[in-house]
Symmetry: C2
Subunit: 279 residues, 2 copies
């Protein structure tokens, strides 16, 4: 079924701000799936259609949903992907770079002409296999969003507080470490902020939760018009909105929750996070 | 070195309220260790000295401190322990029952004459091996403090929200589920409250953290004079004070942190929890 980082990020962000995507799909990409994105007013001009099949991933989750085993990763048209930005995308102020080869992330960022806030995601594969290229890439990012395992691998430190110090020393001014069902931690010059994970009644499918988090995070900041100098309060809210979007994503299979989700439900859950954590 | 649930619970609680302990040690119990407890004004009248050796446990923690392997458990004098309450203990208003055979916990509670708030801890061993006896015991507890694995085992439910519903149906009106480094969750009739774990710079030794949590929790409620009808706000604060005490416990080996810890440091960390979680 429809999936992928760009899909989840754009769906989640679309509740907060207009979204323009850059990505590649194959000839098998369904019109119905493009229709879902379009129904959320996501700009598809940068969605390239290439000869061949769309990227495909399948996997199996452990009973507690905390681990997953990849059954199959077919790069297909993604293997030769070189992101091309439509001309009118270049002046956009907010940029979220999904998890691809760091050199490609750098190329995309270089094409942007008026960024107010830029950052992105990466993964073990690049941290271990393209470390220097990755370090060169994230050096001028405003924010980095990674999970705890990646933060430990990138920093060489086990304790998150120390890992964050090392990573902030690599360039990004804002670091968000995602901890799956246990929430997330924001680190920046004003200190750190801890948000616990939303207690779901059941987890149906955690696929895309981290990407939905990223979409909520950047979407909220864009809605607020926040730039590199975004204050602690706005960044905290962005992390909570990220958590909210990640929690909704898990409630149904794949992207299905986004077919019915409303902004009112999102704001209600934001308030619920406050109610459940304040003392 | 000195250890055990009663030790950690009483040391942690002693920062909030006078503490009277009931327990058993052998002939090898060191005067210096009794001295540490006495230095915190802990009443040792109920500390029985029996012929033989003191209970002994040793284990090895995994590199990430989230798992431990028991190397050795010698029950020694604990094997035949029958708690005897000194006469003047019986009218105490607050009771925390450490993790022992549920029938013994029940006997102790029966001897108390003026309880305002009572509850305690249990473990896998009793949940699996003495289930009926345990259910009979916790039926009239005001609160139950257990970890996530125990909550899942006791309830038969994986998701904590469902597990809590099942456990609250067993009798306790207040349930606190401890999640190690990831914090804790309070469940009661007013809803639930999530507190993330304190982000330590390093973990030196997590032994006793859960018991220190329990001591901070009941100690704070006793200090506040809170009874069974304790409101949501007080219970939330109690869970945070529990988290504070658990976090300090990890900072040094064994009970060492309690040799220098002050109430001012405790209240400062309570404020730090607020600063790090509010939005």
């Amino acid at each position: 079924m429809l999936g992928g980082a760009c899909t989840y990020i754009s769906l989640a962000a679309s509740y907060f701000t207009p979204v323009h995507i850059v990505g590649v799909v194959g000839e098998d990409f369904r019109q119905e799936d493009a229709g879902l994105l379009a129904s959320r007013s996501i700009d598809l001009e940068g969605l390239e259609r290439a000869p061949g099949k769309t990227f495909f991933w399948s996997g199996v989750y452990s009973a507690d949903m905390n681990d997953r085993t990849t059954l199959c990763t077919d790069l297909n048209v993604f293997a030769d992907f070189r992101p091309k930005l439509p001309e009118r995308y270049r002046s956009q102020p907010y940029l979220l770079l999904g998890n691809i080869q760091p050199a490609l992330q750098r190329d995309v960022k270089r094409q942007m002409t008026g960024l107010r806030l830029a950052g992105g995601d990466t993964m073990n594969f690049w941290i271990q296999g393209s470390r220097e290229e990755l370090l060169e890439t994230i050096r001028d990012w405003d924010f980095l969003l990674i999970n705890d395992t990646e933060a430990r691998l990138l920093s060489g430190e086990y304790m998150l507080r120390r890992a964050a110090e090392v990573i902030l020393g690599m360039g990004p001014r804002i670091l968000v470490i995602k901890r799956g069902e246990y929430g997330a931690v924001l680190f920046h010059s004003a200190g750190h902020f801890l948000v616990p994970g939303y207690l779901l009644g059941r987890v149906f499918d955690p696929t895309g939760a981290g990407d939905s988090f990223a979409g909520g995070f950047i979407g909220y900041l864009a809605e607020q018009g926040a730039g590199r100098e975004a204050g602690d309060r706005k960044l905290r809210n962005a992390v909570v909105y990220g958590s909210v979007m990640g929690s909704f994503c898990c409630e149904q299979f794949g992207v299905d929750r986004f077919r019915t989700l409303t902004r009112a439900e999102i704001d209600e859950r934001f308030r619920e996070f406050k109610t459940c954590t304040e003392f």
